[in-house]
């Protein structure tokens, strides 16, 4: 069920942003404290847990051998999935994925794919026959706003942490890892901005996300170029706001990329 926010709360958050402040005392371009922990799941080929304030997203990477798509016989396959755990928020329910779940998975997928973060051509083993399939699975453990940025960060941290499993006679030996890393060619991160009233703020927390008019997620790669974008919510952005947001996002992206270790 959708969470209804009282108008008092909405007005309070909008008023405080109009005065150039935020409910939790951050600046407009400040993230909540971020921590990244890698190699947290021993069964996964790569894993990471990202905490962004009270938001927690865990990502796991699993590698399988399979056939490349027929229209891309020289490339490996990337599959991204998100899971909103019912324990993470009273508004999340078990069952088939709902639009917000699909959106998170797709936006993160787009960021990874369009930036060329994984050199998929190097994942091909035999043309048209055998390649690595990379599964990126995000699990939202605690929802307190801004799942895009936390999801992207956890996915990238897990990809960077990944070691290929051992293969013998064309079969994967589970539980045995090699020292070979995935061919990571780029380090994209996503920065999400929420428009509340007249202000556009970075990294909306739960209260801000519930009252925001619109949001804009910008994915930036390591050279500072924008590689993907997603707009959500019913409100609108002016062209100037979009240009400004992309620039602000690119600036913050550098900080996030520093947190991602090779």
């Amino acid at each position: 069920m959708e969470h209804v926010v009282a108008e008092i709360r909405r007005d309070h958050i909008a008023n405080i942003i109009r005065d150039g402040k935020r409910v939790d005392g951050r600046g407009f371009d400040d993230y909540r404290p971020i921590t990244i922990e890698t190699d947290i799941g021993h069964k996964a080929d790569g894993s990471a847990l990202v905490k962004m304030g009270d938001t927690q997203v865990m990502a796991g990477i699993k590698l399988l051998l399979g056939q490349p798509f027929s229209d891309m016989p020289n490339s490996g396959v990337l599959t991204t999935n998100a899971e909103l755990r019912p324990g993470a928020s009273p508004t999340f329910e078990a069952g088939p994925p709902k639009p917000p779940t699909v959106e998170i998975a797709r936006v993160v997928d787009r960021g990874i794919r369009e930036s060329g973060a994984i050199d998929v051509d190097k994942l091909c083993i035999t043309e048209g026959e055998l390649c690595w399939i990379v599964f990126v699975d995000m699990h939202v453990l605690d929802y307190s706003g801004n799942l895009f940025d936390a999801g992207m960060l956890s996915s990238m941290a897990a990809l960077l942490d990944t070691r290929l499993p051992k293969v013998e006679d064309g079969k994967i030996i589970y539980g045995e890892k090699t020292n070979n890393k995935l061919p990571i060619a780029n380090k994209p991160v996503e920065t999400t901005f929420a428009k509340i009233g007249s202000g556009v703020v970075l990294d909306p927390n739960l209260d801000e996300e519930r009252v925001m008019d619109a949001r804009l997620t910008v994915a930036t790669d390591k050279s500072g170029d924008m590689c993907a974008m997603q707009k959500g919510g019913e409100g609108t952005f002016t062209p100037d706001e979009i240009f400004e947001t992309v620039e602000r996002g690119a600036k913050k992206a550098k900080e996030l990329q520093k947190l991602l270790k090779d």
């Binding site: 209804v4 926010v5 009282a6 008092i8 005065d19």
Partner: protein, 220 residues
């Protein structure tokens, strides 16, 4: 005296004691049902929770947010698992007269301060807006605290809350469900929010009212 901390399922005492909140009985043996501080007297036992969600109790005043409505009732979120109902009957009084279209008086997104009139045997909660003190909330802001700390915000016989209201000049309504509504000038509201945050953090300390009073004086 330092009270003993108990955990859910922990055995407390055996016998025919009167039971308050936070405990349950099984074959004359009394166990704690929450994490909290034990209050054990000769013929009475209860556990004061130190954290946790709000459990509705009749005659409690709560701050609710209307999240749905139909032709004859409003459904409000009071921070519990299921929404609480305000029927039109519990809003309009004979004297002031009824309104055919109830959305003209309260709508989705409005906040109210209301009393829990009744909890049905099936645990449905009914609020009443006809009690003295209950009202629709206009302006101001709502902050949230752990419901377990609400008694400290109110203080003994309301000493803390009346002091805060008197010293800051803000209107403050404390719901037993841990939602506090504050109304006043912006900087005063910030001050009250800070004070309440402080009370929540220092709830266990001695001489809290005095400390808070000093804190307000310093802010001036």
């Amino acid at each position: 005296m330092a009270r003993k901390m108990v955990f859910p399922g922990e055995f407390i005492v055996e016998g025919d004691l009167k039971m308050g909140d936070g405990v349950f009985r099984e074959n004359k043996r009394v166990y704690s049902s929450v994490m909290g501080l034990l209050d054990l007297k000769e013929n009475f036992v209860k556990v004061i929770p130190i954290t946790g969600r709000y459990f509705p109790k009749a005659n409690d005043f709560v701050v609710g947010e209307i999240e749905d409505m139909d032709f004859g009732s409003w459904y409000t979120n009071i921070g519990t698992a299921y929404s609480a109902t305000i029927t039109a009957k519990d809003y309009f009084s004979e004297r002031d007269g009824f309104q055919e279209d109830i959305s003209k008086v309260m709508r989705i997104g409005d906040a109210v301060y209301a009393m829990i009139r009744e909890i049905s045997p099936r645990k449905r909660v009914f609020l009443s807006m006809r009690e003295r003190g209950s009202r629709k909330l206009r302006g101001g802001r709502i902050i949230e605290v752990t419901p377990a700390k609400v008694p400290r915000i109110i203080g003994r016989q309301g000493s803390m809350i009346s002091m805060i209201k008197h010293e800051t000049g803000c209107q403050v309504l404390v719901g037993q469900n841990g939602r506090v509504w504050i109304e006043g000038p912006q900087e005063k509201m910030d001050l009250v929010a800070g004070i309440i945050e402080r009370i929540e953090k220092d709830a266990h300390t001695q001489g809290l009212t005095e400390n808070i009073k000093n804190m307000i004086m310093k802010e001036r």
